[in-house]
Every structure is written in C-alpha cells, then in structure tokens.
Symmetry: none
Subunit: 276 residues, 2 copies
Amino acid sequence: MGHEKIVLRGNPSLTESLKIVKDGLAQRRTVMVIGSCRVRYEGRASSTLQEGERILIVKDDGNLLIHRPYDLEPVNYMPSANRDEQDKLPTPRKAGGCLFEATSDGESLTIRAVRKEKRESISATFSRIYAVMGLDLVDRATFSLYASEEDMRRAILVEPALVEQGFRPTSFERRVEPGFVDVYGSDSEGRLVVIEIKRNAAGKDSALQLARYVESIRAQVTGTVRGILVAPGLARGVQPLLASLSLEFKPLSPRKAFEVLKSRGLVEQHELSAWF
Amino acid sequence: MGHEKIVLRGNPSLTESLKIVKDGLAQRRTVMVIGSCRVRYEGRASSTLQEGERILIVKDDGNLLIHRPYDLEPVNYMPSANRDEQDKLPTPRKAGGCLFEATSDGESLTIRAVRKEKRESISATFSRIYAVMGLDLVDRATFSLYASEEDMRRAILVEPALVEQGFRPTSFERRVEPGFVDVYGSDSEGRLVVIEIKRNAAGKDSALQLARYVESIRAQVTGTVRGILVAPGLARGVQPLLASLSLEFKPLSPRKAFEVLKSRGLVEQHELSAWF
DNA sequence: GAGTGGATTTCGCAT
DNA sequence: ATGCGAAGTCCACTC
C-alpha cells in the first residue's frame, strides 16, 4: 500500500487526510495539504499566523514550506535538519534529523515538525482541508545557472575594472582551446597582462596553460608580464600552484559577468525578445 | 464556470490541464501543476533545468515558483512584477505587470511568464502531468513575528535598565554619518551612550560598525562617548576586538526582550510552550 | 563546526 | 525610483 505515484483527494474527510499525511510522512513522500490553517513557529524567533487558506508542503527530504496565496516567499518554513548530509548525496534525499508528527483532535489536522539541533519547531493546524496529497516525485536532473565564457570575456572588455582598477585591455585572441579565452592588456603601471578566463573553478590545467602563455609572451618582450587567472574559484590545490608559478587569481562569477553585460544592455536575448 | 473554490484533477488529459491552467491564470487564481517538466529561465541570469518531476505554483498575485521534491528553496522562480503596488494592499492582491501564457503542442503543456520591466522570463514545459489545480484561496490574516531586532530595541526603550541601571535613552534610529544608531542616550553620569543591537551573536562587523558610530559622534561632541554592543552573545574573537576598540558588551537575548514586551502588554499574548 | 561572502537574493523602510 | 540594511535569511565554500 501507498506505493502509488500519486495519492490525491479533493475535499477529503479528516480521517482520510490524516491517513494520507501520516502515510506520506512515514514513507518520506512529498506531502501537500491545501486548506485553512493557523501556524505557529518557535525557534530562532517566534511567530504566529492566524487562520487563513494556505498551501503546506513537506518535501521528501524534510523541508517544510507554508505558502500564502500571494507573496514569493513562504510565510512560514522550516529547513530540513540534515542539509549537510543531503549535500553529499547526488540524488534525491531523505530526511533524518527532523521529527514530523501528524495528529487530529477530531476537528482539525495538526502537522508539527521539530528540529532538535536548532531548537526550533513549527506547527500548522488545519481546520478545513480542500485537498491533500502524497507524491513520490523523482528529480535527478542537474540545474545549470550560467553565463558563457564568452560572456565573461565580453564583460571584462566592457568593464576592465572587473579584473582590477586601471586594467586596460588592448587586444584579445580567439579561443585557442576549448574552455579558454585570452585577454591581453596592460595594468595601471604599464605592465603587460595576460588573462585567462574560466567559467568553472579553475583547475591545475588552467594554471599551467596560463603559465605557458605567460612564458611565451615573456620570451618575446622585455619587461614584466603578469598572468591573471579569472574564474569563479580555484579547484583544490591550485592556489599553491598559482603562487609557485607567480600567477595571480581574480575571482569572477559568471553571474557577475552576466550582470555587467545586462546592465549595459549587451546580453543576448534572442529567445527573450521573441516573447515581447 | 470556474467559480468553484477548488478545481482539481488527478492524471488529467492534456486538454483538461490546459483548460484548468488557462482558466486559472485568466481568473487570477492560484494555479498548481505537478508533473515532469523542463524549465528555462532568462533574465538576471540564465538557467536550464532538464526533465524532472516538480511542483509548479503560480500564485494569484503572479509570483511563480518551481519546487523540486527536495530543497527548501525553489529551483526556479520569478517574482511578481508589481511588488510595490501589492505591498500597499492589505489583502490578497492580483497580478498586473506579469504576462502569463499557457500553450500546448499536443504533446506537452508549456507555461510561460514574462516580466517586462526586469526583462526576464521563465518557461516550464510539462511532458507529463500528475495533477493540476486551480485554487481560489483567501488569506487575510496578519503574520506576527516576535523577538526581532526591532523588538529588542523596543524592549530597551521601555526598560532601559536592560542595558544598565541609570541608562536613559534619548532617541533611537538616529541618523549619524555611517548609518543608523540603534539607540542613543546617556548613562547615570551623563555620558553619551551609543548602542548597537544585534539579534544574533555579534560578529566583528558589528563591533566595527559600532566603532564607526562612536568615532563619528566623538568627532561632533565633547566629553566621553560610550559604545555598547547589545546582543545575545559574542562570536568567537570579538571579545578582544571590542576591548581594543574600547567598546562594551551587554548580553540580551531576543527571548528576554520578548518577555519584557509581553510583560508590558506590548505584544500579543501567545504562549511559549515547552518544545519537548 | 565556525567563519566568510554571495544570492536570479527578497523584503522593508528610508530619502 | 533608489539605496541601504535586515533576514527565523539560505547556501556554498573554506579553515
């Protein structure tokens, strides 16, 4: 029993609701209740929310949300207790440290969650239930939030201060290798600057690649040549390697780059524009 | 048609789903779709989310949320376009500046939302729908949050002895050069007192911020100026920093502040029952 | 586990 | 509108 993909009841009886919620919680399914409720939270702060019609969601990892019919943010919520453990898992996770309890006094349905470590608890009491459901949802897809490396390069060209104050790009080359884009320029003291951009956390290969570029340039010119690795971050162990190669690191997130381009109206919106 | 409180279908046909979603959007009802979808967002950033089972909610004020079966935060979202207008309304609000569109190609259901001013848009395409519903929820209740930093400030104003015997507040949220002083007053010996309040354990930033305030005020007046950091505790390493800055620390928990307000009848009574 | 900084931050209040 | 600070911030990352 209870192995159905979806259990859903409209205008359920109290008994029916209690069973569906209890089963859903016990089986670590996503549980949703739509109805009129009062909510109380105590923990980091205290809050009360009087009777009103809302949507309550308990996800299968124990995260709890209570949404009003308006507002982007949940009016009440409680994070799952075991976030750290969850993050180690590549796929959907199950709750561990959060205690859930569904009870009924014959008139109403109360869902209560207690998070021991953080000493916080939340309680929602439904006096009326319009719909209740237990869901067994599967979502293993990866979420990608991005601006392209090309976007990062363009952002640096239009706003060189992203690299450092006084940086002036003088020329740039096309992509020489998948994943790498170069920008050349000079700093405030006239020194030559070679920039290598990486969209993801830069690994050793990036540092070594940049080192080769810098070395190549140094052989052709006189004077100091600085090598700067621009990336959202460094992979483990790259920091000391960079230092030993006398290279520098400048953090830049694709998001930041995207913002810069957007603020200048330079972002490509071919799909977006079609919608207007 | 469509005047029902709740329209709810399990395993609906594509045609049925499209109608319920279209009607719900047109009538500014809260719309919810549960199923397998792909999501694409463009605007402040860009994101893609491959096929997976999720919960999509369009609230009656136009806020859109897409939740995976895990995580506290929505994987994708789009704020309603008219937040400011909404905030002026005491009761449930309706969307204005957000364009919604529901379409079907015979195989899937696509819900799109476009926010013109912010130039952002989101699109969710459902290849499979387990449940779809249109809700007419009413929630006019007020949400009360206690033991906030604001409450701590109020508590100090009504009971200055929480800071120290003889303290007399003269003003609060006084504008000074670097920002705002939480509470401003004088001690039993007439010395000026500047108070910075923190709800959580105060960190280095709090100490430095208070130091800036004190410095600013010392530049404007003659005589001693005391800086007191009021917080439930100090983060590690802040104690010596405070000492080196010649600042003082007075422990005060939000809970205590709340108790004070409650004892004066300045907050709605509500029980703080045992958690376990 | 604590500290630091970012977020498609959101939210609220101030000028 | 804009800007600043708070948030029951959450969240990822580093030490």
